[in-house]
Amino acid sequence: MLDAARVQKELVECNKDCHISGISVDLHRDGSSLYHLTGTISGPLDTPYEGGAFEIDIVLSESYPFQPPKMQFKTKVWHPNISSQNGAICLDILKDQWSPALTLKTALLSLQALLSAPAPNDPQDAVVAKQCLNDHTTFVATARYWTEAFAMRTTVGTEEKVKKLMEMGFPENLVRSALENVKGDENMALEKLCSG
């Protein structure tokens, strides 16, 4: 049985100072279950991830906090310890070094620290880790590009994109949900609309 009281308190605690820490946790937009949450971290300053808002999918098990939460980047990130394919995270505190004394906020803070301190010697994504070790300039440029492409929230102009896609003949609700799912990327939304 999930400790709902603790999770609720954690949500309140974490969102109390989200404007300072740049970390917030909310219920997943799909439903109102405490088991499925969405965390958001801001990219640390002086890194290629600066200015980005990275969403993390959080799934709590029944035995949380005695078992670690399952976390996965939903926003595409170019980082040696985060899969560029599916956003899987290689971080010890989310695996064997988890402690019940840790919280969602401390875990997200650890992810934020991971963004600013990549560990290419213990990689999750081998390609990114190789580039990080051999060609650091290219790695930084790619990471910056991915941040600007996927993590920058451009809420401005969403209505224009919606209008544009609706002119192509897609219903509004589908257009909005598609744009939402791809973080406002117009081309990916179109791709999604065409495919399904």
């Binding site: 906090p65 070094q97 019940p100 004394a101 840790l102």
Partner: protein, 344 residues
């Protein structure tokens, strides 16, 4: 002063209000008359021997701060001289007091005595007199009701100008009679319920410590404006001074002691409050506090301390730590109770 009051209340209120129950009350009061007369004579002889002008002044002085004008039927004394004249003056002053007090009193203290107001008016006066005595003799609590405030003012006037050995002795006398007043009050209240039992209860002297009784009086009346029954706060203006001061418990309080540890007030795992057992429970040498439920849960799983990630079983002397930390907590508890006791 008290015995004068009995004379007055036995006559004046009885004539002013006539009801069936009052007759029973009068009968009970008459049975008491002989005893009271003896005490009155004794008291008057003391008063006369100590100079009458003092007392005339004291008795008439309350009219000045009194908001209610004295009844026109009662002549104001022009000058005080002569034994009988003095006595009548004092009685009139008392009557004025009674009227004034009853005016202020009828509305707010009827519920204090579970008896009809017509029959309890005399007793009410007795209780008010008790209040008056307790206020003057202790000079402790601040008045809450309007009439207790006025009594205090009167007494202050007395004390500022004429306070002396005479006054103190007078109050001592009042205090002596005060025990009897309590007996009378009890007897009269019994008479309201069952007039036959009244003489028996009168003959039994009820030993009352004066300070306890004044506390009771103050408490009953002062509690009245509060409305809801609740505990006195230490900084409450109406709080009787004689209540034990527990403010020191704040300094050695358990809550404070727990807060000194900072994280010890909440279990960091389940965010529930830690009780004393939990706070003294220290299963790991790293000093990580957690509640027993969470500890049990962890022991059923991997058994590692959430604070340092070491296995609980490998922590050297874990049980020893529990024993060591349990001892200071018990000593703290003892210290608390010990330091509260002298205050009572």
């Amino acid at each position: 002063m008290g015995s004068d009051a009995t004379m007055v209340h036995a006559s004046a209120p009885a004539f002013s209000k006539d009801s069936g129950k009052k007759k029973k009350n009068i009968r009970a009061a008459r049975l008491k008359q002989c005893k009271l007369d003896a005490r009155r004579e004794q008291w008057l002889s003391q008063v006369k021997s100590k100079g009458l002008k003092n007392f005339t002044y004291n008795a008439t002085q309350p009219k000045l701060p009194c908001p209610t004008p004295p009844p026109s039927s009662l002549p104001r004394p022009s000058d005080g001289s002569g034994g009988e004249w003095e006595e009548s003056i004092k009685i009139r002053a008392k009557q004025e007091n009674i009227i004034k007090l009853e005016d202020l009193h009828d509305s707010d203290t009827e519920s204090l005595f579970n008896s009809p107001s017509s029959t309890s008016s005399g007793m009410n006066y007795l209780m008010k007199n008790c209040l008056c005595e307790s206020h003057s003799s202790h000079s402790s609590t601040s008045g809450s009701g309007s009439y207790t405030q006025s009594v205090n003012e009167e007494k202050d006037d007395d004390g500022d100008e004429e306070k002396g050995d005479d006054d103190e002795e007078k109050e001592d006398d009042d205090d002596d009679g005060f025990d009897d007043w309590e007996t009378i009050a009890d007897a009269l209240s019994n008479a309201n319920d069952d007039s036959e039992n009244c003489p028996k209860s009168e003959t039994k002297p009820i030993p009352f410590r004066e300070d306890i009784h004044s506390d009771l009086c103050n408490h009953d009346v002062l509690k009245k404006p509060e409305g809801l029954p609740r505990a006195w706060r230490s900084d409450d203006a109406f709080r009787p001074q004689s209540l034990p001061s527990l403010s020191r418990s704040k300094h050695c309080g358990i809550s404070n002691w727990m807060n000194e540890d900072g994280q010890a007030s909440l279990c960091p795992i389940c965010y529930e409050d830690l009780d004393l057992t939990d706070t003294s429970f220290l299963p790991c040498s790293c000093g990580f506090h957690l509640c027993l439920f969470c500890h049990k849960r962890i022991m059923e799983a991997d058994g590692r301390c959430p604070g340092c990630r070491k296995l609980y079983n490998s922590a050297v002397g874990g049980d020893q730590n529990v024993a060591i930390t349990a001892t200071p907590s018990s000593s703290v508890r003892f210290h608390c109770s010990h330091s509260i006791n002298p205050g009572t």
